[in-house]
Subunit: 384 residues, 2 copies
Amino acid sequence: MAINDVQKVLELDSGRAKELPLEEKIAVQKIEEDTIKSFEKRMAIVIPIKDEKIKLFEGVISGVPHECLIIAVSNSRRRRVDHFKMERDTLNQFCRFTRRRAFIIHQKDPKLAQALGEAGYSDLLGENGRVRDGKAEGMLAAMLIAMIMKKQYVGFIDADNYFPGAVWEYARCYASGFAMSKSPYTMVRILWHYKPKISRVVYFKKWGRVSQVTNRCLNSLISAKTGFESEVIKTGNAGEHAMTLRLARMLPYASGYAVEPQELISILEMFGGMLPAARSKALKHGVEIFQIETANPHIHEEKGKQHLKGMLSSGLGALYYSPLCAGETKKVIIDELQQQGAIGEGGEPPQPRIYPPLKKVDLEKFAEIIQENMTLYSLPEEKH
Amino acid sequence: MAINDVQKVLELDSGRAKELPLEEKIAVQKIEEDTIKSFEKRMAIVIPIKDEKIKLFEGVISGVPHECLIIAVSNSRRRRVDHFKMERDTLNQFCRFTRRRAFIIHQKDPKLAQALGEAGYSDLLGENGRVRDGKAEGMLAAMLIAMIMKKQYVGFIDADNYFPGAVWEYARCYASGFAMSKSPYTMVRILWHYKPKISRVVYFKKWGRVSQVTNRCLNSLISAKTGFESEVIKTGNAGEHAMTLRLARMLPYASGYAVEPQELISILEMFGGMLPAARSKALKHGVEIFQIETANPHIHEEKGKQHLKGMLSSGLGALYYSPLCAGETKKVIIDELQQQGAIGEGGEPPQPRIYPPLKKVDLEKFAEIIQENMTLYSLPEEKH
């Protein structure tokens, strides 16, 4: 397993020319336009949505490179105003004008629940028989859809992004990471160049507080296990990340906001050589993790302090309950959560629900049932 | 002369595929990647700089597509801290890593002044024999440099932009406009999708107040002259704009912040058919103006109220003193300026200095003198 240190985007668009002279080749890698496009073609961009402003969603889809397949999974309200319908209409019109295809489904769609159940993955279903709430849950459904759409790569982009240009760059970074990787088991995680803090004066700070703490705890875990002080993890909470589907189908996933840190934990547990591992192809090839720093800053909707606390404690919960997490790191986690007021005296972080790897799903069965409603999910709509 | 109404960017990156089916062809135009790149190759992107934060400048250059030639004209301070040196070093390193060439010059460079003087364009020089202060003055020098670098297109992008992805989109819009045009005399002006107003909550408003007023006055002028109520002008103050150099060399330019509205005024005066016109090739081909609305919002440095007032009154000054401007529009202008507190009772806007068209410059002479210091201006620096 290899975790690459942060790599920076120097040029958003490095043009056509084929070769850099040898001299700079070691430090700087140029990914050609054709290469990027060839990876984009095999990539699904998953956009989880939940009641985001429709203008934001419209901007986000306009930034997804043409060659990528958009898969939108919405958990938006449908009562009184049908937000999902608005999202679907927006995506439909976009697809019609730009001549591309996209896929959109509601997280509570009964057919989706049926397909998951019959394909052997009822883990995602709640008591009412529908897919549970949560971003992670939507992401998992979307990954299965990417698989039945025969994609090789899946990248996630949040729907609350103000900059189509940043969205575009994320997809390029994903493609670049896959292009650089030597393993079919690859993950690319985005490090935002700046996350502007919006106050009276725009102030661009390097990391959010939640990311800082999550990274520190992840690095503490790695340091404790390896005996070497490490600061290699800089993208513990990266909502913007991508995977080869060959890697994606092997990992266990955590629910809610624990999903992104848990992916790293899962990889460390399975391929980090710190725990006894089952033999697997992935182990032979090795897993590569790329952390890529964008040229664009990241501006998204501010969701308030309570949201941040929830994010922090569920993220750290994923670490806390990992078999990799020893007493030392556990103490760091508890201290941090108490300091942030996320847990009280003697408290512990919540234990995230862990979903089994997607490889147990009967994909043919899943595809067969989804196919029955495909005309509803696939855009643009056929005209009558 | 044709002023096109606003056209919107639907997709930042519309990929490779060749054709849209006929049906949508009328409303939606797809500009292929290859086409865009072929225009970018022939385009210089001019970045006027004046004491902008070096991080901002670094971001802006990272967004300029690889195929474009960057021409930076700096009027930054050189006392105590040599800002120009920092800009040059930043651009130099960027060029080295990305294997591209760029041009950078200081506005007060004595060789530049000498070249302008000897080539018959001492209009730009102040009493001390150097190029005058002002963004317009830097832009004029840069256009001449674009000409001697054998470019066909020149596009302007301000150095105070927070989003490399927006910069990238501007260059693409310029290329798209030129690709759509049927005339070699073309101008492309950018309409920002949103200009976010930064306050406690981010609020994205459609236009700045200054743009609104300038557009209203320009439209009033056109309405008065044509007898038809018009709202066609939506980009009167567009700092982000581009021209074919064949058009650029024919226009008179205004100093300071009047430069962008004056370009439209100059085109209306010369090619609008409202004044007796000299015969010219451009008149035969017709001039095409494109106004393109970006998908990205625009976030730049806030420069304060005084700056806005100055911008407003010099911009409206360009209109006010045009032979096209009749009593009715003059009154609208005076009212607006008084209402904004930019002029007092009985006041008039300042009359901008008008520079003659660049076609009078002896380009060979200009090139010859600039060439003497080319190793200073051309980046990356040669290694010794």
